[in-house]
Symmetry: C2
Subunit: 299 residues, 2 copies
């Protein structure tokens, strides 16, 4: 089923303990779409500058992505993020953020408005709210970040009352609810509006909270973590892609989608930038899904 994503296209500079790269392809909408497009057709909406390499779209184009919502600003630079990972690489230290074209309002094509599924990647809650109004029939999921929890809390709370699902990391869940325990944080977030809450725990997996119950999943075990950038957006892309493909929001379908999400994240972290997801196929994803199920199986 039709899945629209609004988020960022970026160029990243990444420093890890092993290596560094500059100006590589990134951005939430890119990671999300590369993962989701392994499952379903994606409608991508994002602002991009004149400096973004055209060939970066080849894989997504081959996977049937709709680019009508890609708004190009020829004379401006693409969003740029510079970050560094140390030690366990659990968390990025942001060295620099240049919003550039991200300060422009996103484009919402008429042709996207009948999308059945919508993902609002991390951006200002006021912008998420505006976009959401164009999708009256969509099942909408959103991500957010500490910046908005701290400075745009009221707007974020209005958004939470309108979306079906919220995807956020454990630090954000604790910050938004004031609950350290993640089970209590999940319950508190459900009280704030969304039917479905997904708390991402990085290398420790993710929790799912629904009115029908809870589900927990460790991350797919990866021996060589090269670059964690985009893991969360890849998780969300795999999750939403699998849900849209199944067109089913039952607990069983959500459990499966969580597992596809963690598998997509595992592919992302094994290489810099989007190389892992670009090289992946549905077969690779299914093999890892089966491996994960076997890894976790007990009777």
């Amino acid at each position: 089923m039709s899945l629209a994503v609004f988020g960022s296209v970026g160029l990243d500079d990444i420093i890890t303990p092993e290596a560094s790269v500059e100006g590589v392809v990134g951005g939430s909408a890119v990671y999300f779409s590369l993962a989701a497009s392994l499952f379903t057709d994606v409608r991508l909406a994002a602002n991009v500058g004149g400096d973004f390499p055209a060939k970066a779209w080849d894989t997504l184009r081959a996977r049937g992505t709709d680019f009508e919502g890609l708004q190009k600003f020829e004379d401006k630079p693409t969003f740029r993020w510079s970050g560094r990972y140390e030690g366990a690489m659990n968390e990025a230290e942001t060295l620099r953020t240049d919003l550039n074209v991200l300060i422009e309002q996103p484009l919402v094509p008429e042709s996207y408005k009948d999308s059945k599924y919508l993902f609002l990647a991390n951006m200002a809650p006021v912008t998420q709210l505006e976009i959401l109004q164009s999708f009256p029939n969509a099942t909408a999921f959103a991500d957010t970040m500490n910046l908005w929890i701290e400075h745009e809390r009221e707007t974020l709370e209005r958004l939470l009352e309108l979306i079906y699902g919220l995807v956020l990391n454990e630090g954000e869940a604790r910050m938004l609810t004031g609950e350290h325990n993640l089970l209590r944080a999940g319950a508190a977030l459900q009280e704030m509006g969304p039917e479905v809450i997904i708390i991402k725990k990085g290398e420790h997996g993710a929790f799912l909270f629904t009115p029908d119950g809870r589900f927990g999943l460790p991350a797919y075990p990866v021996e060589n973590v090269v670059d964690p950038t985009g893991a969360g957006d890849s998780f969300a892309g795999g999750l939403m892609g699998a849900l849209a493909e199944a067109d089913d929001f039952s607990m069983d379908s959500l459990r499966r989608a969580m597992a596809y999400g963690t598998v997509c994240a595992s592919v992302t972290v094994e290489a810099f930038s989007t190389a892992g997801l670009e090289a992946a196929s549905r077969t690779v994803i299914q093999d890892r899904y089966d491996e994960l199920r076997d890894f976790l199986r007990f009777s």
Copy 2:
């Protein structure tokens, strides 16, 4: 089947963000035995002082524990540990350790020596090696700690060549192998001797490494963590108790035992000291086991 455990009996002073207790029952052999005795008969060996409350043994006695290896030093105080937990309560800060009767050699009763299963809780590797020599026919598992990894590495390495299984926490696994990634640490530990490696990750569960494959398990989700003291020893007790009961070291049996271990740990952390494990029954454990399996299930 017969399961012998060598470890500590202790009196603990524990400070948590919510409350404090002084002189409560603790020690690795006590937590281990309370968990393991839910599955099988346990032979307990430990040194205890004259100040240890006799009624602390009531539950274990009722569960058929053999106390022949409990060596009482009437004129000396019991091992005492004081620790504090803060914030997420992931790690205890040790405020004080008084070894007291733990400096005396443990007693190895003749009647224990035919035990089929043996657990050597954390203690000096040289003592673990000495005890192990009295159990030529036992399948032996051992725990260890950072102190021995740092200062008694050679002796510890000799022990690793002789035991069947090693149970340790993630920090110790990294320290012993120099590998940050836990999958690589697990593989490196297997190279050091033991067939079976179990890496405990606290609230994030545990990994199992065997020649037949790997297994991962998140912790049983607990909403109210009151006191994490003894969680690791309770995990080991549930694990070894379930293995000894099944008398089966197949991968499937090890997977089940890991799940029983995490369930026993969840019962421990919900109350101070041994109150959780003392109140637990096999039915409670089985209910949580079934809940955990359902929590993790995806198809």
